[in-house]
């Protein structure tokens, strides 16, 4: 599993690092901590800009993350192998450098440009399975240089996105479904979240005027069978779309809300991109968007 962790210097990024570290302790994922700076400052020759706040913050986050893996004898990120590799230094320059690696990749990166665009580019290039991004509680996110970056990332990401607003141990993972396209990857991601938090799973089908679409009903049946076979306790229920906001507000107090968006936003789905964007913005708790 490859996790891209998008960070800025806000308080919620601290929660993000802690949440990702817990997930990485279980999954031994390849992890990239990414910070984005809108403009590249002038630097002397090849010296990187060390005095940027995001650079210092990323260094702190790196230490905190690795602090979760103190026992190096069983740490996936402890350096186990090294060797010379050709590294692209840009501007047509390749350099053979000594590269140290652990069993799993752990990288810290800074990109320059517009945050949403850079984060999404990184996710595509690195084929991330999950993007984890922080967001402030309340109506307006305060992402540096791109206030609604989490909402925009959720709408356009090629993979699942966990929007972290706080640190908490959910009592239930509540997965809401409004269509019949559910990827194997999203089911697997839920399995890891359920294992991490040792919780039950709730499958929620969205209805309109008490009517559950036949294709959603069938998909829920398949998913339930999948989880029964995996011996994961999954509760099923339905929520009328008119009560969705209230349901999310109520459920998010103790549970982790997960919304199945599928790869494309289809016309007529309850979870349109705009609706999900609004949910991400206004939710008082973390939200997982599944693709």
């Amino acid at each position: 599993m490859r996790i891209l962790v998008a960070l800025d210097t806000n308080r919620y990024s601290q929660y993000v690092v802690n949440e990702v570290a817990k997930l990485a302790m279980n999954t031994w994922a390849d992890v990239t901590l990414l910070g984005v700076e809108s403009r590249k400052p002038a630097s002397n020759g090849t010296q990187p800009p060390r005095n940027l706040p995001i650079v210092r913050k990323l260094q702190e986050f790196r230490e905190e993350f690795l602090g979760y893996f103190k026992d190096e004898s069983v740490s996936p990120y402890a350096i186990k192998r090294w060797g010379y590799e050709l590294v692209d230094r840009g501007k047509g320059l390749l350099e053979e450098m000594c590269v140290c690696k652990g069993m799993k990749d752990f990288r810290v990166r800074i990109r320059f440009g517009q945050p949403t665009k850079q984060i999404l580019t990184e996710a595509v290039e690195e084929q991330s399975d999950l993007i984890v991004v922080g967001c402030s509680k309340g109506e307006q996110c305060t992402w540096e240089q791109d206030r609604n970056a989490p909402e925009k990332i959720v709408k356009a990401a090629p993979c699942s996105v966990l929007v972290v607003k706080e640190e908490k141990k959910p009592t239930k993972i509540v997965c809401c479904l409004d269509h019949d396209s559910v990827s194997q990857e999203s089911l697997e991601l839920i399995n890891q979240m359920v294992t991490l938090h040792q919780t039950d799973l709730a499958l929620v089908g969205l209805t309109e005027s008490e009517h559950l679409r036949e294709e959603v009903d069938q998909k829920m049946k398949q998913i339930l069978q999948y989880y029964t076979a995996q011996k994961i306790k999954a509760w099923v229920s339905v929520v009328d779309v008119s009560l969705l906001d209230k349901f999310i507000a109520d459920t998010a107090e103790k549970g982790l809300i997960a919304l199945w968006m599928g790869h494309k936003s289809l016309i007529g789905k309850f979870f349109s991109q705009d609706r999900v964007g609004k949910l991400v913005r206004s939710a008082q708790s973390s939200v997982l968007i599944l693709r």
């Binding site: 069938q218 339905v238 009560l243």
Partner: protein
């Protein structure tokens, strides 16, 4: 032998109900008769008269039969006691009531997915079908392991009525039984679980009634808290038994507890 009528449609809720009945069959001998009522699309006015109406109803029933036979074939391995389905055309509640009244059933069962809207459950248990059914009913909301049963008590409950309705079935099932006395309070933040259940009003009478019927009572508890928290707590039971028919005020918070309880509910 417990004779059960199960209402089915070609959907997830019905699969869950049939599989749950399959679990019941591990504990007692059951006969499970599925019924599917195909409702005319223009509700209220049946189409045509004479042979026209007859032919049309026949076509509708055939369509319903195809859908239900597929469900029955898929679910039969999970519940071998499942009989061939009965498919009828008409108004759902009336047809099921007619079947219950003529078929000497001990229990009615149907799968209904848990809903966030508590009004849905209230509507269900105050419906003509649930109020007039000649036998108790199980509303199966989820497929949960049937390992222990909760019998709910609350202030104002008529214990002998509750125990009379369930004792035959529970005695056959020989499942461990807990009595849970509910004190729903909407303003209570954390759920309080008190093991000193005998202090609750009416609790001793219920326990006496249970013991007289020779049921295996494990423990008694009092749950005080928000109805939703009580409902969450009850999710650990494979069956929650409650006397609500004609026994509760429509605004009673017990309705809210039952509406949010995700486990199957035995209504008597």
């Amino acid at each position: 032998m417990v004779n059960i009528l199960v209402s089915v449609n070609p959907d997830l809720a019905s699969s869950i109900a049939i599989r749950y009945a399959g679990q019941l069959a591990h504990f007692m001998e059951i006969a499970l008769q599925p019924i599917h009522v195909k409702e005319p699309e223009q509700k209220g006015s049946l189409f045509g008269t004479g042979w026209v109406r007859h032919t049309w109803e026949h076509a509708l029933a055939e369509k319903g039969e195809e859908e239900i036979n597929l469900l029955i074939r898929t679910e039969k391995p999970y519940c071998p006691a499942l009989a061939a389905p009965r498919v009828v055309v008409g108004e759902r509640e009336n047809e099921i009531l007619k079947e219950l009244q003529t078929g000497a059933y001990d229990l009615f069962m149907e799968g209904i997915l848990a809903s966030f809207d508590e009004g849905d459950f209230k509507k269900l248990i105050t419906s003509k079908l649930y109020q007039s059914a000649p036998c108790p009913a199980i509303v199966v909301k989820n497929l949960v392991p049937l390992e222990k049963v909760a019998l709910l008590s609350y202030v104002g409950l008529e214990p002998s009525k509750l125990v009379d309705d369930v004792s035959d079935i529970l005695r056959q099932a020989k499942l461990p039984l807990d009595v849970i006395h509910l004190v729903p309070k909407k303003d209570k933040k954390d759920l309080e679980v008190n093991e000193e259940a005998h202090e609750a009003q009416g609790f001793d009478n219920l326990v006496d009634a249970i013991r007289k019927k020779g049921l295996d009572l494990q423990k008694g508890q009092v749950l005080t808290g928000h109805p939703k928290d009580i409902a969450d707590y009850l999710s650990r039971y494979g069956l929650v038994v409650c006397a609500v028919r004609n026994a509760l005020d429509k605004k009673s918070p017990i309705h809210t507890v039952l509406a949010f309880t995700p486990s199957p509910i035995f209504i008597c």
